[in-house]
Symmetry: C2
Subunit: 484 residues, 2 copies
């Protein structure tokens, strides 16, 4: 790797810090033995296709052979993985600390004795929450409702918002009884029992694929076609121009336009919103960013009009932006009402702080499993590993280094890297590419597994153990593709 | 246990088979040391309530101390558990065979390297499916889409049904392209892209609590109040009179009435159904049964009107009715289009057979995790354990024995056991009780953990390892409560 990037890395390292590899037994680089998929993988894909849809298959992986930042396939190919199971692997494949947790008697019992947590929690559930999920709770939020996936987490948050909004409409009294009309109409899916309320989301946002969450998802038609949806409102998300420093005024005007539109929808939509939901960085929808002042504006609007603000940190949460939660970048003095999480947490749910967000009666927010203690135990170990190795700081620093390298590449190949974005957001970096799908495909040939987002963005979602020497491999690989 | 029930058991056993305990290290009976919750549990509940809603809490359990059919709490109380985590524990707490699977290197890798199955499945995913989930696929259904919970499984099935129905409306051509109007309207949640279609469900049915599944759930207002819902149709579920043998004609008329109403809704509802969904036995809604001819009638109606039939086996599936799938009791010549599962499977998803139920393009039915290999590996072990111990047959036989015992109790205490139901349905037995909540509460005092369903049913949901000697303990306990 006698590349320019490596040379820069060496000199930066000498004046900055000496980088210790987190995974001493990681491969030193990618290894490409066959085209991908190779013959073994092709045979396995053919077998799998008989019983399971494989048309979205990207690689047939062997996880027992995958280590740290490297994903292995069935043909002996080993790729640097900066997609990481759609941003879901936090601290590396086959991480030894997680392996200890996964082979503990506590984990075995959690796997085979899965409880109905709402009825029969295990004796140490409070401790598992307090030393894990709640230890990293966003500022101002000290309670959690656990779930199973990001979509599920968002829908649970929507339900909490609707129950809260109806309580407010009843004057806020937690002891107010439901009227006979509410009770009977709810069983017919009609108002007032099933209220004429909505969740406001933003264009090109993604919040999941279940019926409620999909109604708030606005990323791509392929997610939504043929599926009935609620007639809920969508506001414009700012469409910023890059580089940011050259478009300060236009971008501020654009954000104000979106705030005005949001306020108009909150006050005029025929199904009034109980909450708005927003991603700190729209991920699936194309890596769209907005400034802290935009999000502060949303917090003010939601307070002004008495609706809740839900921050969807399913993809941005757990360290990837150089903060544990991406919304910490905003420095809100008034925290969001709810923050949802999943993916790198390897479990899911929503945080909240306001006691009014506990429904007024039991069994209103409830389901059989209400999460999975096995996954909560794993998240606790992930948190310990992040702290032990200071991985949020690692991600912040590696992100800076990677961003600088991409800036240089973008000067060198301006037709290949457009609208580079994510400065100061850890490794949560993306750019637009005029030949995106070709770049992603050819990346495998240079030993890197990368994903896209939106129509034409290349999105980087490395793990939190991604270091400078991995960034060098990625930068070299990109350079090779752009040169060719 | 010198009880009448035990005496019957002895004589039955001698002419029938000698019962070998499946769990040699199980307690020989319940042990009650304190009131429930006892002092240790109360302290733990108080601690948990600070961060997690405990108002639906039933018992604070210690699963490491729970074995086989017995659940242990923090105060040393040990109860025979015939509720089993809302019907979700299949082969006993701390089952040694499952423990082997849970501590295998394969499981550890699955826990810490959770893949995005649709993009990066693990190399042995086909084998895990074929030797597990698909080995027990209902007749006629040879493919599976994996998910995470029962609600999720049902919503995935609904999405498959909507995509299928729209394809049929386009003439069935899998290569028909979406129109520009469909594409743009779908992004606004409007028809035709978000079609004006529905899922038909049945009164007092339960299919989950997410927004789509909750729109089909009609069990209790507390599940539905304040949550927006789709204006989807609900048909009456037969309200049978007991004992069945004394009400043959009325019940047949009642079932025909419900079939006629279903047909009327299919042909006239303003949002035409793409599918109907039904439970073989309505569980959460009060343990409501119907005859095989009713279900055959639904299969005929759904064929006649070109809509799909989804059978929700989330609670009835995996052996509890004395068949692996409860709908096998119907002897349909034409299988259901989809069957959903969760709970005792410890994973979730839907089975289907028709290739048309694979959407015409990738990424239409998709999400990040698409299930969990760890849970699929566990289900494979559960299936092996069920086969090794012949547990479906055990459940059929124990169910017969238990039903007879309850019939005797119901003659003895006719005011306590009304509308006893579930004959020939394994241990999936219930009855109505004029003082249901008191019976459930007092059951703990005699060492048994039981659940309710609907407004006044006592529902039995023992595990598949429930044997005659456990049935005797349950019958004795009930007798004590009824006598008091």
């Amino acid at each position: 790797m006698a590349s320019a990037a490596a040379a820069v890395q060496q000199s930066a390292a000498s004046t900055d810090f000496i980088e210790q590899p987190f995974f001493p037994n990681e491969p030193t680089g990618p290894m490409i033995k066959t085209e991908i998929p190779g013959p073994q993988s092709k045979a396995a894909i053919q077998q799998l296709d008989k019983v399971f849809d494989t048309r979205s298959l990207n690689m047939m992986a062997n996880y027992q052979h995958s280590i740290g930042n490297y994903i292995a396939d069935l043909d002996g190919n080993v790729l640097l993985d900066v997609y990481a199971q759609i941003a879901s692997i936090p601290v590396g494949y086959s991480n030894p600390s997680l392996m200890l947790a996964a082979t503990s008697p506590e984990m075995a019992s959690a796997i085979i004795n899965r409880p109905a947590l709402g009825n029969f929690p295990q004796h140490d559930w409070a401790s598992i929450l307090e030393t894990g999920i709640l230890k990293v709770a966003p500022k101002g939020l000290d309670q959690v409702f656990t779930g199973t996936t990001g979509s599920d987490a968002n829908e649970l948050a929507y339900k909490a918002a609707f129950m809260w909004k109806r309580r407010m409409e009843r004057g806020g009294d937690p002891n107010a009884e439901f009227t006979p009309d509410e009770i009977s109409s709810s069983m017919n899916n009609h108002s007032p029992g099933s209220p004429a309320l909505s969740i406001l989301s933003f264009k090109t946002g993604f919040h999941g694929r279940l019926f409620g969450s999909l109604s708030t998802t606005r990323s791509k038609p392929i997610h939504k076609l043929d599926i009935p949806a609620f007639d809920w409102p969508q506001a414009s998300f700012p469409h910023l121009q890059y580089p940011l420093s050259e478009h300060v005024e236009e971008n501020a005007r654009e954000e104000q336009r979106c705030l005005d539109e949001t306020e108009r929808l909150i006050t005029t939509w025929h199904l009034p919103p109980a909450a708005l939901i927003i991603e700190p960085i729209q991920s699936e929808g194309g890596d769209n960013h907005a400034s802290p002042s935009f999000f502060k504006g949303l917090r003010e609007l939601s307070r002004k009009h008495n609706i809740l603000m839900i921050v969807d940190e399913v993809q941005t949460g757990v360290g990837a932006t150089g903060k544990f939660w991406a919304h910490e970048h905003w420095n809100l003095s008034d925290p969001p009402d709810m923050v949802t999480f999943s993916k790198k947490a390897q479990t899911a749910g929503y945080y909240f702080g306001n006691p009014d967000l506990r429904p007024n009666k039991p069994y209103r927010q409830f389901n059989t499993w209400m999460g999975d203690p096995a996954r909560a135990i794993l998240f606790r170990s992930i948190i310990h590993e992040i702290e032990r190795l200071d991985l949020v700081e690692n991600t912040r620093r590696t992100g800076e280094y990677l961003y600088e390298g991409l800036e240089r590449l973008s000067s060198q190949f301006p037709g290949e890297i457009e609208n580079l974005r994510g400065r100061g957001q850890g490794t949560f970096i993306a750019w637009d590419s005029p030949r995106r799908d070709e770049v992603l495909r050819r990346a495998k040939g240079v030993g890197v597994n990368i994903g896209g987002s939106g129509e034409r963005a290349v999105r980087l979602r490395p793990m939190l153990i991604f270091q400078r020497h991995h960034a060098d491999i990625l930068l070299d690989g990109m350079q090779k593709i752009f040169k060719s």
